[in-house]
Every structure is written in structure tokens, then in C-alpha cells.
Amino acid sequence: MKERLSEETIAMRVVKELNDGDYVNLGVGIPQNCSLYIPAGKEIYFHAEQGVIGYQRTLTREEWQEADLDYPDAGGRFIPSSAGMSVGDIVASFDMIIGGHLDCTVMGGLEVSENGDLANWTYGARESGGIGGSMDLAVGAKKVIIAMTHTTKKGEPKIVKKCKLPLTAKECVDLIVTDLALIEVTPHGLLLKEYAPGWSVEEIQGLTEPQLIVSPDLKEMAL
């Protein structure tokens, strides 16, 4: 079985897309680990949807015994006392999101379509799945990065011509980073820009439903 990129590597590659001084919201799952890999010299200010912004890391598991329970993020982790952090209420928080103030959101994905539609909040059953802030972030953030596995556990493509699962938002995704590839969503279609080491374009296309455009600058993913 050929090796795919680890969740950590996907997170590290996503971090390269974040710019010094960006205000960023990280979703649960693979995206949440991005905060572990911010390099020295790059300041990223994180936002958590219930109403806090400006922290730069969350506590490691070893630090949780000393966690201040009044300072969680939105994913069950805890925020240390952080210079420049400010607290607001949930209305202010979503004004920031929907008002287009956040530079970037990194979320997980269940399906991304050829034209950038996103499905990432439910498998469809009535009693599973909450929307959370996914729809708000998908519409509001200046840049939407989806960090996910390239295929489902059964090996089916998650990058599809048209989403079958209930949508989070239409035409919202800018960049997809998977355990096989980095793909930009463009008006002309999905542009394959980077491949995981050892993976060919044909192999990646074989696990992707819509036809990929191969970038003239195609290169191996590097950190």
C-alpha cells in the first residue's frame, strides 16, 4: 500500500499558505493541528467562534491540568494567557466571520466539488451532524482551505463533480490540501499544483472524480 501523507504533514503544508499577521479560524480534525506547526517569525492570530481572537497557540495535553477552564477554543482545547488576545461575545465573533474580516479558515471536508462547493457538516442522516460555524466560515472567510483525506475510508473520491451530501456552501473553496495532493479551485476547474512524494498524476486522477488540470508548474509537495 503506497504511503500517503500524514495528518501532521497536511497541517504543515497548510501552514505554508498562511501569511504573517493573518487572522485564522481552524476547524476540528486535521485543521486544528495547524497551530502546532507555525514557524518562528510567522505570527498567526487564531479566532475561535464562540468569541475569542488573537491567541497564537493552544495548550499541549501535558499542560491541560493547569488549563483555565474559562478559556477554551471551539474544539475542546484550551488557550493560554496570550498577549494581544481579546474576548468578545458570539455576535461579535460571527460579525467578524460573516463580515469578511477573517483572512483564512481551514476546515475539514467530506466532499468538495469541481466548482468549489463544500459539503462538510453531515453524512445526511437527520440525527447526526450539527452545522456549527461551518456555513458561516465557508461564506465569510477571505480564503477557504479544505484539509482532508483524498478518499473516503472505502477508497471513494471526495473530490467530486457534484456534491451528493448536504452542502455547507456553494462555490466557496479556494484550496484543497489532501494526503495526496494540493489542488487550487479556479474558474476553469481544479488545478493540480502539487503531488505527494511517490504519487503520479495518473494515480491521483484515478482517485479524483472530475478531470484535473495539471499545472505547468506541477511539483512535489515540500515543507
Binding site: Q50, L69, G76, D89, F94, E127, I131, G133, D136, A169
Partner: protein, 261 residues
């Protein structure tokens, strides 16, 4: 109107009758959730409630989910509810993993015993804000092209698509704050303030559960987040008792290390 300082949580919820609508915020372990008010209403057994809450997840320490009759959250009241309005009924993994039982709420929603109206966190927050600020509705770009748009009026404004969302209000609002003065002015603590301030605006009778009640004049006007105009009742948590910061911290630490196994 002057606020009522109440001695017990039971007294504060006594007039909540069957069929009432209630807003309450919930966000894990800290000063996010008025756990004593929730527990008092749970013990009172008032039923057929409509509960409006951003988040119905149980409280957690690491991988451990606390039973909702132990550490009270919005989930605690769902056995007495006919309807919930929310953005997050709780992910499947949040209910029952390393906890004492599977999610009764998700089962009740699936079987239709509890009706669920689902929307995004942002839409819920802004609907509460519209309800508290007297608006008849607002146009949002969130949810266009998704199931939340179904049955709602749509409008294109300057070339961009929007959905019309209506205001949300409730008969009662339970909120958790840090300190109140005797006029009901409130300050909060932490990133968990969340929906508490907007619930105070959008509820007809807002009841605040606080750690301390101070004399009017002790809170800095620049620091007050919720003015007492929005508050009808306040109740103090006895020092160190259920729902207090020291109580929650002790329970969290105790459960935490075992939970990682």
C-alpha cells in the same frame, strides 16, 4: 424596573411553566453555562420546553463526557423538551465516547420525539440579536444553496444572494456571568461569554447565575458588558459549590488523566 436578587435557584425558576421557551448558552466546562439554573429546572420537571441553545454537547474532560445529570449543560433539559433550536446538537463522537451513556438527544431527534430546527452558529446568534434589538428580520448570505434555505424568502441584493432570517426571542433566558452588581449590570470572564450577552437581550425574563454580587458602583462602567436593563433576576452561586469555578476545576482535573487512556 428593579431586578430581583433571589436566594435560591429553585425560586428563580419556579414560575417557568410547561410549554415555555428558554434560551441558554453552553460551551464546555467554564463560566459559559448556568448549571445551577439548568439543574433547578431539571429537578422541577417542567416539560414541553422549547430550548434554544447554540450547543447541546455534554461537558468534557479530555476524552471523557460527563453525564448531563452530573455536569449540567443544555443537554440536561432535552428530556423535558418538545423542540430544540440549535447549531450543534452534539457530534456523534461527543455523546457517549468514554461517557456513561449514548446520546439520548440524538436518538430522540432521529425518532422524532424532539423536533430540531437547525441553523449555523452565526445565523442563530444574529437571529437572537435581531430578536433582542427589535428587527423584523435580516438578509444573510449564510446558507444560500443549502438545506437551511428551504422554505425561506430569498433576495438578490447588488448581485449577491441572501436568505431572509427572522428574529428569535424566548420567554426565559438563563445566563452565566462572573459578577453582577445589585442593579443587574454584568461582567463576564473568559472566552466562554459566547451567547450569554445576546440571550440577555432576546429573553423576556433573563435570569443570571453569577459568582459574586457586588454593590452598585463597584463595577467599572467601562467594563460592564451586559447592562442591568436586560436582566430581571440574579442568583449567586454559593462559594465553592456546584457550578463554581473551583468545583468545575476539581471535577475536570479528576476526570482528565484517566480520560486519555
Amino acid at each position: 424596573m428593579k431586578i430581583k436578587v433571589m436566594e435560591t435557584f429553585a425560586e428563580a425558576v419556579a414560575d417557568i411553566a410547561d410549554g415555555a421557551s428558554l434560551m441558554v448558552f453552553n460551551w464546555n466546562m467554564g463560566r459559559s453555562t448556568p448549571r445551577n439554573l439548568i439543574r433547578a429546572l431539571h429537578e422541577q420537571g417542567t416539560k414541553d420546553l422549547t430550548i434554544i441553545s447554540h450547543n447541546f454537547a455534554p461537558a468534557r474532560a479530555g476524552n471523557h463526557s460527563f453525564d448531563e445529570t452530573d455536569i449540567c449543560t443544555a443537554l440536561t433539559l432535552t428530556g423535558q423538551a418538545k423542540k430544540i433550536i440549535t447549531a450543534w446538537p452534539g457530534g456523534l463522537s461527543q455523546h457517549g465516547s468514554k461517557g456513561p451513556k449514548k446520546s439520548s438527544l440524538l436518538e430522540r431527534i432521529g425518532s422524532g420525539t424532539v423536533e430540531m430546527e437547525l441553523m449555523s452558529h452565526g445565523t442563530l446568534a444574529q437571529r437572537m440579536h435581531a430578536g433582542g434589538s427589535g428587527l423584523g428580520g435580516f438578509y444573510t448570505p449564510v446558507g444560500v444553496g443549502t438545506i437551511v434555505a428551504e422554505g425561506k424568502e430569498k433576495r438578490t441584493i447588488d448581485g449577491k444572494e441572501y436568505i431572509l432570517e427572522k428574529p428569535l426571542r424566548a420567554d426565559f433566558g438563563f445566563i452565566r456571568a462572573f459578577k453582577a452588581d445589585t442593579r443587574g449590570n454584568l461582567i463576564y470572564r473568559g472566552s466562554v461569554r459566547g451567547g450569554n450577552p445576546v440571550i440577555a437581550m432576546a429573553s423576556d425574563v433573563t435570569i443570571a447565575e453569577v459568582d459574586e454580587i457586588v454593590e452598585v458602583g463597584e463595577l467599572d462602567p467601562d467594563a460592564i458588558v451586559t447592562p442591568g436593563i436586560f436582566i430581571q433576576r440574579i442568583v449567586k452561586i454559593p462559594a465553592g459549590s456546584y457550578g463554581s469555578a473551583s468545583y468545575m476545576q476539581a471535577r475536570f482535573r479528576q476526570a482528565l488523566d484517566a480520560s486519555w487512556d
